[in-house]
Symmetry: D4
Subunit: 159 residues, 8 copies
Amino acid sequence: MKVGIILGSSSDKDVMRNAGRVLDEFGIAWSAHIISAHRAPELLREQITKMEADGVGCFIAGAGLAAHLPGVIASLTTIPVVGVPLKAALDGMDSLLSIVQMPKGIPVATVGINNSSNAALLAVQFLYSSDNDLQNRMRQYRLEMKEKFTKDNKEGVKL
Amino acid sequence: MKVGIILGSSSDKDVMRNAGRVLDEFGIAWSAHIISAHRAPELLREQITKMEADGVGCFIAGAGLAAHLPGVIASLTTIPVVGVPLKAALDGMDSLLSIVQMPKGIPVATVGINNSSNAALLAVQFLYSSDNDLQNRMRQYRLEMKEKFTKDNKEGVKL
Amino acid sequence: MKVGIILGSSSDKDVMRNAGRVLDEFGIAWSAHIISAHRAPELLREQITKMEADGVGCFIAGAGLAAHLPGVIASLTTIPVVGVPLKAALDGMDSLLSIVQMPKGIPVATVGINNSSNAALLAVQFLYSSDNDLQNRMRQYRLEMKEKFTKDNKEGVKL
Amino acid sequence: MKVGIILGSSSDKDVMRNAGRVLDEFGIAWSAHIISAHRAPELLREQITKMEADGVGCFIAGAGLAAHLPGVIASLTTIPVVGVPLKAALDGMDSLLSIVQMPKGIPVATVGINNSSNAALLAVQFLYSSDNDLQNRMRQYRLEMKEKFTKDNKEGVKL
Amino acid sequence: MKVGIILGSSSDKDVMRNAGRVLDEFGIAWSAHIISAHRAPELLREQITKMEADGVGCFIAGAGLAAHLPGVIASLTTIPVVGVPLKAALDGMDSLLSIVQMPKGIPVATVGINNSSNAALLAVQFLYSSDNDLQNRMRQYRLEMKEKFTKDNKEGVKL
Amino acid sequence: MKVGIILGSSSDKDVMRNAGRVLDEFGIAWSAHIISAHRAPELLREQITKMEADGVGCFIAGAGLAAHLPGVIASLTTIPVVGVPLKAALDGMDSLLSIVQMPKGIPVATVGINNSSNAALLAVQFLYSSDNDLQNRMRQYRLEMKEKFTKDNKEGVKL
Amino acid sequence: MKVGIILGSSSDKDVMRNAGRVLDEFGIAWSAHIISAHRAPELLREQITKMEADGVGCFIAGAGLAAHLPGVIASLTTIPVVGVPLKAALDGMDSLLSIVQMPKGIPVATVGINNSSNAALLAVQFLYSSDNDLQNRMRQYRLEMKEKFTKDNKEGVKL
Amino acid sequence: MKVGIILGSSSDKDVMRNAGRVLDEFGIAWSAHIISAHRAPELLREQITKMEADGVGCFIAGAGLAAHLPGVIASLTTIPVVGVPLKAALDGMDSLLSIVQMPKGIPVATVGINNSSNAALLAVQFLYSSDNDLQNRMRQYRLEMKEKFTKDNKEGVKL
């Protein structure tokens, strides 16, 4: 199964790049598309349908300001959607609230402001109930993170 | 020309009622529909298309929480959309930001939190560049408001 | 019909320039004036009266801090007023609230922080109920935006 | 010299009453008027001019939401203006920012949300540089407050 | 696979009940436990380990104030964790930020304030990549929601 | 050693009562006084001096609004001061910021909004580096809290 | 009569300089002192007493963070105090709330964040009820401001 | 007794350095460790246990974003914990609320955003009830601070 990354605008590429990097670490195929929920709503519907048919098992959507993109995708599919609030104004608070405060029935799994790495990790988790190998890779990922952290910080640090 | 009032949920009727009252004062026809942008996106698209065909010249959309409804309507039509942020959580701040912070190209004319009366007045203004009679009625409305206010408050008030 | 752009201070020119550009795209005449609601209230009243007489059919007013300018203009005329909250302190939150939270009876059509482009698009919509040609131009504007967006983003994007 | 109390709406009477009570304690004459800056701008200008002629030496203005009233009064006179942010939405934060964030050149002396007592005390201070007796009364007021407080709280308190 | 619901305190039961109801609709087994991350950290670790062994495939954790519970659970397991910010102070903003702003590497899938229904729907999505039947039930759930909504709101509504 | 509890106003007694209850559980003597930093600054100075002489080893100060009381006490003594932000307006956010954002050199140990129980526990910790018995009591307190919690919540809970 | 300007720290000089410039324009004598309410409370008391004796008729106090300085001065004197919230963290919101939300009985006349010019204008107003000449100078100041503004902005502006 | 400084990430060293400097001034031994509560929870538990055994009498923990570190440490020990909210997003407001809003029973003594100096001073106060010499050094520290401040600011300052 693949992950579909949707960006609200081309200016979001720098922040969303980390999502791709994390998915690469897990060997999960992904593709990224720039689609505005407001400027090109038909394109969004077509693309979501096409990506579903292509085997996408989780969407990651990043957007700023009145960030409707993740919620609109969630209204178009029952594939899980992870939302990344991007910082474009108001320190990203407008985007966070526009994504996380979805009405009952249509959830978006929201991560921290600009935290596309965590969005990718959630995507891996959405995919892996069917995939023991992927589960093991996540355990390995966390173990390595912990071991690296522990090794790097075994000794006290000078301030 | 008519005004189409769209509510995100049936719990929004009490607040949105004032919009209807103000439109009645101006003798403007209106109809109201409850349509969730997320739970029934196809219904929303159909309804917007149908209302456009029926001669709706301005939409008023009220929604709370991650209030995508006004923005999604604006993405489906070039008819002007007035957004009313409704107070459902966080004193309505989530709704205000979700409505007002629209991206460049797709505006929503936003009014104050729960202020559906002002939404109706904006709708009147959206309709009336083509309608001298309506412009006169607005001048009259404001004049009466001012005169009533002035008469009511001519004398000082006891505290 | 023309659009009158009012700026609260000369430092607002950079942000408000986009409003002029968008109006130019629609072939709508406009003029811009710097008038402080607080430092020169009589000048504001005179100018608003003069612009009404000159055929202005919509005002766009941008202001920062305790941004009273759009609301004060709205109290002086029944011509529609679009308010642009400008970011001068507190990320523009003070300006947004000072503009959008108008009392019942005197609305200001508020757009996002610093989003003068959207203010211009609302102004076009305020003007066009009387103008089939303008309506067609808006449909064309949106269609071109959508087509350009779709063409630019047909292919997936590298991250 | 007298104090002019201006309320944005009749619903503000309960909160603004304390201003009158404090002025009474100081034996300062006052009158209160309800005048909306937006609904009746001419009435406001007339009233301010009339009150200036009647010997008003300080204005106290209370308003909620996009609370322009104190700032608009300040733009019409060089008599000092005390602004009271009233809590009508958003816990009064909209009103506080709309009052306190005035541009350079036109200040409003702002007090805490709903704190009309403190507004009256500032009004006394605005009046009293010319009035030794009033200064003495303020010293007496504070002394009595302190003595009463000290007497009431001499002993520890049970919790 | 089962879902483990963890509540930070017994006062959270009313809000978290909806999560159980939604899981029941999907025929997914669940159990709920009250465990404080701060008052009983060992109990939390033991319980998480035990629930993992018992076949829990997704955790839902609800907490208020400095809501560390979901993040602490996420640090103890690679099973996905859905966090529900509960409103206990500051309208739930403290809880939302304490849950959503997790550091890179340890995500929590966050839903809206008090929105435990959406948490349950995310849990279903976390479980169902391995379960075609569950996917079909979600499609059915959404279809029924949409059809019910459409039927209920076919006609315009009186205001 | 004793603890001195200072309240900014008599309306704070209900919230601050919990501090006394917790200190009683630890067998620590305490007394409570209502003293306004602003209305009776000399009384505050005298009381602080007197309480220091009486063997007070830690102050707990609760205050709302512009909550200067804890910081002013901290400026008068080198005895540790615990500050409790009380909710009187703006959900207590004004009070929290007025207490926690002290300048470098004069700290106040701040607890959560209205959380006077935690203030008392910090006071115990401030006293106990010199008191093995008190340290043991704290360990016991936490152990009992944990055991009670664990026992109460051993079984899963019905929702 | 003179104005006493008090700064909480030497880093506040740049912002507070404007207060001095405005007072110079009005020919009002002033002196500035750096005094921390927390680091040097006795010095503050002495200085305030000394400045009162020296003929200071109004204090202007600027402070950031938990900005207690203006309120503490107000507790020490019945001379009016103008508070300037300085931006040091949180965009100055902590400072604004710490200054404006004073308890009943001890007001601080608060101006906008970093707006020391307006603080000086309020100080002039506090001084001038006894001083016709000063009143005239204020009228002149405002008139010149208005005329300059009007002259500068007579013509429309290019964007 | 020693102080244990815990940093959530190596990027926090610059801000936390001041804590070490202040402890040095008081001649208090300290060591610093980087330990993530989420990435390495076992390491954190081991380190806290080890530091307790090594004679640490107070912990200082600095963390940003969803800053769970201080609260998690407080759940593992009865040694007092001082929390320093670090500014990483949202001006540090997320971190402040994640640290200060701890539940009843497990307090964290919170200082201002990025204010690690004050954290060190609180640590000194936590240690010194058993140490007359340390108390004297604190009195001396404050006295020198006051005297230096008084000497530096004896004369008025030019603006």
